[in-house]
């Protein structure tokens, strides 16, 4: 029972935290640009407003189901990661799989999203998907090398195991033990968060908001929520993998907030790559970094 409560609480808290982080990032970006920006709570208002819309359209079954795929993928990732180290109730479903499962289940939402975009029949949406998949296949390379390097280095594929191995002080954090792999993973984190210079998927000037171009009303609301949840899930995952996990709720919030700010800040000062530039950069720079640690581990 406590497990189910924990799951519900995890989802609700992550949703709120995710939407809030989104609002903060909008404000921060605006301030860097010298604007006031919207309110911090603007994202909550958007989601609610969209959810309440009376008229909505759809383009077919996959269009209909795509947001559900999206949110399912996000929640699954979230539930597979232990949230707070000390509190095993918040480990949710993480017993059911290891990092491999995590890596692959992250695609669940992406694929659903892509299918919805495809079903919408809008060329921009599909162009964005084509770019997104191309880019994803590139950053997943460095990300998975980094994860494998860390997991092999620590002799476990289980997230709990990886987190547990980092509990001996800050110096035992993987970001210090595996600096190159971490650098690679952190570089891969930027495109994961669609941050500039890798923001080719949502590129508003070229293909207005990308895959969800055709989405509106309740579907869009679900999609926003999914994105927020997925964001938090990724943050928790990165914190667990690289930054020693969260020993308490407070450290969780602090660590995820700081980690979240990293792409926001980077994003607002960089221009955008062209697609092939982005792909090539991701193939060579972060991959090489992650490989260094992999070789170290193998030796």
């Amino acid at each position: 029972m406590s497990n189910i409560i924990s799951i519900v609480v995890t989802i609700a808290a992550s949703l709120i935290w995710g939407l809030l982080l989104g609002g903060i990032s909008r404000t921060v970006t605006a301030r860097i640009h010298g604007r006031m920006g919207p309110r911090v709570t603007q994202n909550f208002i958007d989601v609610w407003k969209l959810f309440r819309k009376k008229t909505s359209i759809h383009h077919g079954g996959m269009f209909w189901m795509a947001p559900m795929f999206r949110i399912t993928g996000a929640i699954c990732v979230l539930l597979m990661v232990p949230i707070v180290i000390g509190n095993s109730v918040t480990w949710n479903m993480s017993f059911a799989g290891d990092v491999f499962l995590l890596i692959y289940i992250m695609f669940f939402g992406c694929l659903g999203m892509a299918l919805g975009a495809g079903n919408s029949g809008h060329p921009y949406a599909v162009i964005a998907v084509s770019r997104g998949l191309a880019q994803m296949s590139s950053y997943e390379l460095s990300f998975s090398i980094a994860v494998v390097a860390i997991a092999v280095g620590l002799h476990t594929f289980r997230i709990e195991g990886i987190v547990a191995a980092q509990q001996a002080g800050i110096s035992s954090w993987n970001i210090f033990r595996f600096p190159f792999a971490s650098a690679g993973a952190l570089l891969a984190f930027l495109p994961m968060q669609m941050a500039y210079p890798f923001g080719i998927v949502l590129a508003p000037q070229e293909i207005p908001i990308g895959p969800p171009t055709e989405y509106s009303s309740r579907f869009l609301s679900l999609m926003f929520s999914g994105r927020a949840l997925f964001g938090v899930a990724k943050l928790v995952l990165f914190v667990s993998l690289l930054f020693g996990g969260a020993s308490s709720w407070l450290s969780l919030f602090v660590k995820t907030f700081l980690l979240y700010m990293y792409p926001v800040v980077v994003s607002s000062v960089f221009p955008r790559f062209r697609t092939e530039q982005s792909i090539r950069f991701l193939w060579f720079v972060p991959t090489t970094l992650a490989l260094v640690d992999l070789v170290r581990v193998m030796l």
Binding site: F51, K54, T55, S56, I57, H58, H59, G60, W64, P67, M68, I71, T72, C76, F95, A96, G97, F100, L101, Y104, C110, L111, A114, L115, G118, N119, G121, H122, P123, V126, I127, V129, S130, L133, A134, M136, S137, S138, E140, L141, S144, I145, V148, A151, V152, H155, T156, F157, R158, T213, E214, R218, L222, R274, T275, E276, I279, R280, L294, M298
Partner: protein
């Protein structure tokens, strides 16, 4: 009396016919048929009396003595059992072809009968001068028939034959004079009495005569020109009678020549085989191709004469020569390819059977002889074995090209020419007969794969895979022809394959299945290129398999080189390591459900082979397992990239298939329990999803008639079920939990990490991510996006295609949620194999544990389905129902989009990715293979420059050959 009738009846007929045709063509034809049929009956009676049909004692004979007294005073004809079999074939061929001559040139009947007489006399003759007389009758009749036929180059063909026959006469008579002066006798046995200088002289003279007459390289020039220039009917009759007789006569004389060590024949033959077949690659006219094939068999005869003796020699020669001659006969009887046609149904088979026979494919008669012969070579003369095998492979290439080009042409020629049909029937019957005789060599005890559990896995995979392809066989589109029979044959052979207990059984079933599949592919529309490549690679893999089996002494108890060859055979069959060319060519060309069968089911035969090799060499480890794993990983990656770029649905699936097979290699290469579990799991999984995908593709093709992405899209509205099943398969092969595909990756990665093969694993992981590219491309390109007006009429795929997909989709779900059902069976079976390293995964309920990882598929499945179901139901029941809008009703800058086709983003889908890859050198398999092709072509051109077309050059060849032999023999003494 019967003896005399069997030999001399045609002669009487010839004499009678010299008078009759001008009187009454009818009567003369009647006389010809009567003497031929009577002679045939007499020969059959003799053959039964000699017990020739069990092919055991082919040297048994009856003597037909002539003249006064006994040899050496008079001449005997020795009717051997082997000879009488050839005679039956000659009679039959003459009977079959007579109506063609009787209709066009009735006056040529005496010549035909004289030719037959000469052929019979030559194979029976035991006297060297008597042979000469028959040789001359044969040459003259041939020249006469050629000059009288109705084709443009007849004079030239005839004059070249005449030139060569003139030279042969001179050389032969010199040999006769030398022989008589030295020994005082003219029987063939007298050759053995020669010694010293005259022995050498007679040997080189006769050997030159023989090599020239049987048209073996390098003295084949005139024969090639002759086959090219003569009309097909004449060439056909010639090859079934005279050419065969000369070959058998040569087979009789060669062992008697006082040449010292007969291995020199084998060397002339083996080298000649390779060179002539190289040149054959460049031949384009069908007559010339047959000429090169004749040359190949002549060279084989030389090899046999040099390496075998006794009844084995006789058997090999008789079976090889008689049936190859019949095959050439039926090919020629089908007419000129330049006027020939794309035949339907059995027409193609009538054409194909002889081609397959010449290429030595089971169960056609030549197969058994070739197998035994090559086995003998492999164990005694390895270098000659390799040379011969190379030559045969080259021959297979041009034969299949010949077939594919020829079956492509169109016209109204009737393939059911009685002559050709009857010859093919005889070949088939003989195939059954010889197969029955050789049946004892087969072994179905399953000894190759000792573990019955693993054997059963393969048995059921092959059976189920074939069965699921069957319902859809009648849903053919356009001009696709009926292929169900060949599918069934191929599938049946595969299903038996795991039970094979020895090498020959395995090889037989393997080839049987492969070439039934080749025929099935050829039934497609414009399938000739695809079939050609398929056939070439199938025979390449077949020859590698053969070499591996034979070098390991006919069994699978092997290590070292044979194991490597067998492994290569499997890799070629899988399309790994650059050989994917055939998959990419054959799958799109193949009709209906055949690609599903090939990719899903048939490709697993190579997995079986690898498993067999691994089990029999060193207990589970493949030779160079790490290399194989790397090959698998790199193929997985390149295959995935190529699949993402493919412009065609079926082509993409072909690339994807090759790519996915790479994972099986990685698992098998590991030689650990986890690796093998992963390999078997993925084998099963690959069968399921790839069949579902290809069956879906078959449905799409059936309804839309196209498989190009540019013409597809938006079909989800028309074919929702096909889409659903395809989606499930795609999610599965993209390894996304909770469907079955994740399991194979999880097991594989755990295995790779356990053995520390991290670089392989990284490449594999990268490949699996690239797989997302093509998986989305596949779904979008066909089912999503805008529906083209072209396909507005499309309907859901027919049920015979849909139901198997549904079954497979359910299997994916079940395997995805409850992989332990399978693992509980697989893991103990694999754990029981001795020699595999690593630890077995531990299965606790739904939980699977390795030393480093955990996986609870059931919980993951519940979680995903729970959350998805909750969101779905919540959205379904709450709030306002969304309204469906048309496909053109999209946000398009406030305008109405022009047309569905223009806004469907499909062309050059992953262009940025391609651009990002631009730094790589642009290598592709097709270029490499066309480079290989070009190189071989250049070599072939260099060789065939020898055959200048000038008759005198051919004479010079013969004389130079004679001089070289002289130098060689004197140097060797």
């Amino acid at each position: 009396m019967v003896k005399a009738l069997a030999v001399f009846l045609p002669l009487l007929g010839a004499f009678v016919n010299a008078w009759l045709p001008s009187k009454s063509p009818r009567a003369s034809r009647f006389v010809s048929y009567v003497v031929l049929v009577a002679g045939l009956l007499a020969s059959v009676v003799l053959s039964i009396r000699l017990d020739a049909w069990d092919l055991k004692n082919l040297s048994d004979s009856v003597i037909l003595s002539t003249g006064v007294g006994a040899p050496p005073l008079s001449i005997n004809l020795e009717i051997t059992a082997g000879g009488i079999l050839a005679a039956v074939a000659m009679y039959a061929a003459t009977i079959f072809s007579l109506h063609r001559f009787a209709r066009t040139t009735p006056k040529s009947q005496p010549l035909i009968l004289a030719l037959l007489t000469a052929s019979l006399g030559l194979i029976y003759s035991t006297d060297i001068f008597n042979s000469f007389v028959f040789l001359e009758i044969g040459s003259i009749s041939t020249i006469g028939l050629t000059a009288a036929c109705k084709c443009g180059s007849r004079w030239e063909a005839a004059i070249k034959a005449a030139l060569v026959s003139g030279l042969v006469t001179i050389l032969y008579l010199l040999a006769v004079a030398t022989l008589y002066r030295s020994t005082g006798m003219l029987t063939l046995e007298a050759l053995g009495l020669l010694s010293g200088g005259s022995a050498i002289l007679v040997s080189i003279l006769l050997l030159t005569v023989i090599v020239t007459e049987i048209k073996a390289f390098p003295l084949a020039g005139w024969g090639l020109d002759f086959y090219q220039g003569a009309s097909s009917v004449v060439a056909g009759l010639y090859s079934a009678t005279w050419s065969l007789a000369v070959l058998l006569w040569a087979a009789k004389v060669l062992p008697l020549l006082p040449i010292g060590n007969p291995i020199i024949y084998a060397w002339i033959g083996a080298a000649g085989l390779v060179f002539s077949q190289l040149a054959g690659l460049r031949a384009s006219s069908s007559g010339r191709i047959m000429g090169y094939s004749t040359s190949a068999y002549a060279s084989l005869l030389l090899v046999a004469a040099g390496t075998t003796t006794g009844s084995f020699y006789t058997q090999t020669v008789i079976v090889l020569m008689v049936f190859s001659s019949l095959a050439k006969f039926s090919l020629f009887m089908l007419g000129n390819p330049e006027k020939s046609d794309k035949w339907s149904g059995f027409g193609t088979i009538i054409f194909l059977v002889p081609v397959l026979l010449l290429a030595g494919i089971p169960p056609l008669p030549v197969f058994w002889a070739k197998f035994a012969f090559l086995a003998h070579l492999a164990s005694n003369f390895p270098v000659i074995f390799y040379t011969v095998l190379t030559g045969l492979m080259l021959e297979a290439v041009y034969l299949f090209r010949f077939w594919s080009q020829r079956s492509e042409r169109t016209n109204e020629t009737n393939p059911y020419k009685p002559s050709a049909v009857s010859a093919v029937l005889i070949i088939l019957l003989a195939g059954i007969w010889i197969t029955k005789l050789s049946w004892g060599a087969l072994d179905f005890s399953g000894a190759i794969i000792a573990s019955s559990a693993l054997r059963n896995v393969f048995h059921s995979l092959f059976a189920i895979g074939t069965l699921l392809c069957l319902p859809g066989v009648f849903k053919r589109i356009g001009r696709e022809k009926n292929y169900w029979f060949w599918l069934l044959i191929s599938g049946a052979a595969l299903t038996i394959l795991p039970a094979a207990g020895n090498g020959i059984t395995f090889y037989l079933l393997w080839e049987f299945s492969a070439f039934a599949a080749v025929i099935a592919v050829s039934k497609g529309v414009r399938a000739s290129r695809g079939t050609f490549w398929f056939a070439v690679f199938a025979s390449l893999s077949g020859y590698l398999l053969l070499a591996g089996i034979l070098l390991s002494g006919g069994s699978f108890a092997i290590a070292g080189l044979p194991a490597v060859l067998l492994t290569l055979a499997a890799l070629v069959k899988m399309g790994q390591f650059g050989t994917h060319l055939w998959n990419v060519k054959a799958y799109p060309a193949a009709p209906g459900t055949i690609p599903a069968f090939l990719s899903g089911t048939s490709s697993k035969a190579s997995v079986l082979l690898l498993v067999a090799v691994a089990l029999s060499s060193t207990g589970g480890s493949l030779p160079w397992g790490r290399v194989i794993a790397w090959i698998g990983a790199l193929t997985a990656l390149t295959g995935a990239v190529l699949a993402a770029m493919a412009p065609d649905y079926k082509k993409m699936l072909a690339h994807a298939s090759v790519s996915q097979l790479g994972y099986i290699l990685m698992g098998l290469g590991l030689a650990s329990i986890l690796g093998w579990t992963a390999a078997f799991y993925h084998t099963i999984h690959h069968l399921i999803f790839k069949m579902a995908l290809f069956l879906g593709a078959a449905g799409v093709l059936y309804r839309t008639g196209t498989s190009e992405f540019n013409n597809l899209g938006g079909l989800v509205k028309k074919m929702p079920w096909t889409f659903a099943f395809t989606l499930i398969s795609v999610i599965s092969f993209a390894s996304i939990p909770p469907l079955a595909g994740f399991g194979s990756k999880w097991l594989l990665y755990n295995g790779l990490v356990e053995q520390g093969w991290l670089p392989v694993m990284i490449v594999g992981m990268f490949a699996s991510v690239v797989a997302f590219l093509y998986s989305f491309r596949l779904l979008h390109g066909v089912f999503l996006g805008q529906l083209s007006p072209r396909n507005a009429h499309a309907k859901e795929a027919p049920l015979p295609l849909l139901i198997p997909q549904a079954i497979l989709a359910v299997a994916i779900m079940v395997l995805g949620f409850k992989p332990t059902l399978l693992l509980n069976f697989l893991v103990p079976a694999i754990d029981a194999i001795p020699g595999l390293s690593g630890l077995a995964p531990i299965i606790q309920g739904d939980m699977v544990l390795t030393t480093m990882g955990t996986w609870n598929a059931w919980m993951v499945g519940l979680m995903v389905m729970g959350i998805f179901g909750f969101a779905f139901v919540f959205y379904w029941i709450s709030g306002h129902k969304p309204k469906y809008v048309g496909q053109l009703d999209i946000g398009f800058a406030g305008e109405i989009p022009p047309s569905a086709d223009e806004i469907h983003y499909s062309n050059n889908f992953f262009r940025p990715y391609k651009r990002a890859l631009a730094f790589l050198p642009n290598i592709n398999a097709e270029k490499i293979f066309s480079g290989v092709n070009k190189t071989f072509g250049m070599l072939g051109d260099a060789v065939r420059a020898l055959f200048t077309g000038d008759g005198r050059t051919y004479l010079a060849h013969s004389l130079l050959f004679l001089l070289l032999l002289f130098v060689f023999l004197n140097g060797g003494m």
